[in-house]
Amino acid sequence: MQGIFNCLNAVKHLLDFYNFSDKKELQSFQLAYYKNYESNFTTEYDGKVQIKAKGIKVPLGKTLDNPERLSNEKIQFPLVLKFTSPTILHKTEIGAIELNINNHEDLVKKYLKMKKNLGKKSLEKGTFFIEEMLPAPIAEMFISIRQDKIFGDILVLGMGGSLTELYRDTKTFILPASKNYISKEIRKMTFFNLINGFRNKSKVNLDMLTREIFKIIEFHQEEGNRCDSIEINPVFVYENAIVASDCVLSTG
């Protein structure tokens, strides 16, 4: 063998090959057919209602049907105020999200401010809603599933939050992929260090995480849902649960 690194690298490849664990899954592996749903984006709120129905956790929330009578709403503080419409994919940039609202007075103030910011045109297309303020997670991640015309269904997992593009710590999978395989691949990510007791934080239950990811996969696969793509970013990851803090869903 020629060159120490090249030699050891080859040893590593050999080891990975003979330890390939998904032998059975490999023999039944097939690329998924592309399903043309002629899909459209739903609002964040509607998306969350849909995934919640399939057992994917989302923050407690409700729409503000009559925002002028806010004081009549029975709500728990602190909370988050959001405006959602099918055309808004990134709320922070246009001021359609307010965090850490602690009382009625603050809520009314933020609501009026948001209304003013968004302008009449945007307001016509969407609704305001409030959500419980989630406790700080161990980590934020993103989970995205989309259809690709050539490769079929693609799952991408990654470190979430505002630095997603900077870290580029992602793993791509072509579905179907087994729970065992996905959990093995997550272990290879930098992200895994973050959820595995980094700086004395609690450890995330990896089996739980994989199971929850599979709920999202099943949601995408279930033809009745006519789901073209789903992107949840950020997903708040806790010791024994994950919560979809946002949801961009495209269905047909």
Binding site: M1, N6, N9, A10, V11, L26, L31, T172
Partner: protein, 443 residues
């Protein structure tokens, strides 16, 4: 792959009669076929010349006295279709189309290629826009450039989409056991997927190393990869066109569209295909796959004759998450007895220069160091170059002792140099005679 298509490629790759069609471009391929030691029949077709390389030229394909097993076409692109039609009429078994000017040139070339595909039907055709194939196992080459390499009963099947890379690999001084080389070019008819199916069934192939620019039929590629895994033939892939610039070149090069990098990597990983990221890794990895028995644990033993070398191995191993386990107490005690006092007893083990080259002394060191369950054992050796070879014998003494002890311990011995050049071809063949890697246990 059905039996018929296996048989038809097999007859083509093991051709006993070959016809060359063309002019100045067929002198070299004829010479290269003979260089391989081809014992079969050679015919040459050229409408105007009387002789090419001492072969009397037939005027046209239909003048051939038999149905050739293989044809090498090097005529202008516009004459390729009619030539293929004539070859089909005389029931030629397989074709290498060296001629370029098809899909890779754009729209009109694509049309010409579509016609070629229709004309060809079920006859295997390598190319167009390719270098052809070399069968090192049976001694046949339809190859348009000077090439080297010796008979190889069992080894790597290499498939590349870039003709030049395939030639570069053949020229490399890396002691590669290669049984087949195919430069697939545009893959108009016979595609990489077909070749994977074929090589998976070949007893003289231990693994398949592929350079890919793009995959045209993904579903079939998936099936081919599953098949090769089932047949126990590992695939190693080097996919180019990962960078934005690389993608542009890949397109103009052979006309295949490069896809999304991360998805391709995911695909390879899920299909148990080993992906590498440069041509050197492609060759070194394929080399190891072709010589090593299966390994299951990351425990390796590394032996050097220098503290510097030991540190380099340790650094690389750590980066790759390979484990260099400590020696047991009893191993340490027995190693103390056979090593000079100055030696530090740890893995990687620097056996130190006082005993270097004295196999009666290094042999027991290797034996004791190997008394643990490793998956791999590596001896780092950088050999002197040909002009200063008075110490070569001493190096080889240790090589021999190491190989012997590895065999007794049931491990594939790996001799590895710090710098790639320091195991040259001459040394390579000497290690081969001693029975150590980089040479296949099968040859």
């Amino acid at each position: 792959m059905n039996l018929d298509s296996f048989k038809s490629i097999d007859r083509f790759f093991k051709a006993k009669s070959v016809v060359f069609i063309g002019g100045k471009d067929i002198f070299v391929p004829i010479r290269e076929l003979k260089r391989r030691g081809f014992k079969g029949k050679i015919f040459v077709v050229n409408p105007t010349r009387n002789k090419i390389d001492n072969y009397k030229c037939l005027r046209k394909v239909s003048d051939l006295p038999l149905s050739p097993d293989a044809a090498f076409i090097a005529v202008p692109a516009k004459e390729v279709i009619s030539t293929v039609r004539e070859l089909k009429a005389i029931r030629c078994k397989g074709i290498v189309c060296y001629s370029a000017g098809f899909k890779e040139t754009g729209k009109s070339g694509q049309n010409l290629e579509d016609t070629l595909i229709k004309e060809c039907g079920d006859i295997p055709l390598i190319g167009p826009n390719c270098y052809g194939f070399i069968n090192f196992s049976d001694g046949i080459a339809l190859w348009p450039f000077s090439h080297k390499g010796s008979r190889c009963k069992k080894g790597i099947a290499l498939i590349t989409q870039s003709g030049m890379l395939s030639s570069d690999i053949i020229m490399a001084t890396r002691s590669l056991p290669v049984s087949f080389m195919v430069s697939a070019g545009n893959q108009a008819v016979t595609k990489i997927e077909d070749l994977i199916f074929y090589f998976s069934k070949k007893a003289n192939v231990c693994c398949i190393a592929i350079h890919i620019e793009g995959i045209s039929n993904l579903n079939r590629f998936v099936e081919a990869a599953k098949f090769s895994f089932g047949e126990g033939k590992p695939i190693i892939v080097y996919k180019t066109g990962r960078s934005q610039i690389g993608k542009r070149i890949a397109k103009s090069h052979t006309g295949s569209l490069s896809g999304n990098n991360e998805i391709y990597s995911a695909l390879f990983s899920q299909l148990a295909i080993t992906e590498v990221h440069d041509p050197i890794q492609l060759l070194e990895t394929a080399k190891l796959f072709s010589v090593s028995s299966p390994i299951k644990t990351n425990k390796i033993l590394a032996i050097t004759c220098s503290g510097g070398g030991a540190a380099m191995v340790a650094d690389s191993a750590e980066e790759l998450k390979l484990n260099l386990p400590n020696f047991s107490k009893s191993q340490k005690m027995s190693l103390e007895k056979v090593l000079p006092k100055i030696a530090t007893i740890s893995n990687p083990l620097d056996y130190t220069t006082p005993i270097w080259g004295i196999s009666e002394k290094t042999g027991p060191v290797f034996k004791n160091a190997l008394k643990q369950k490793y998956s791999t054992a590596i001896l780092v050796q950088d050999f002197p170059n040909a002009q200063i070879n008075e110490t070569e014998k001493l190096y080889l003494n240790d090589t021999e002792a190491f190989i012997k002890e590895c065999r007794l311990a049931g491990l594939t011995p790996i001799i590895c140099s710090t710098l790639p050049e320091n195991i040259n071809e001459d040394i390579g063949s000497k290690i081969l005679k001693l029975g150590g890697s980089p040479y296949a246990r099968h040859i």
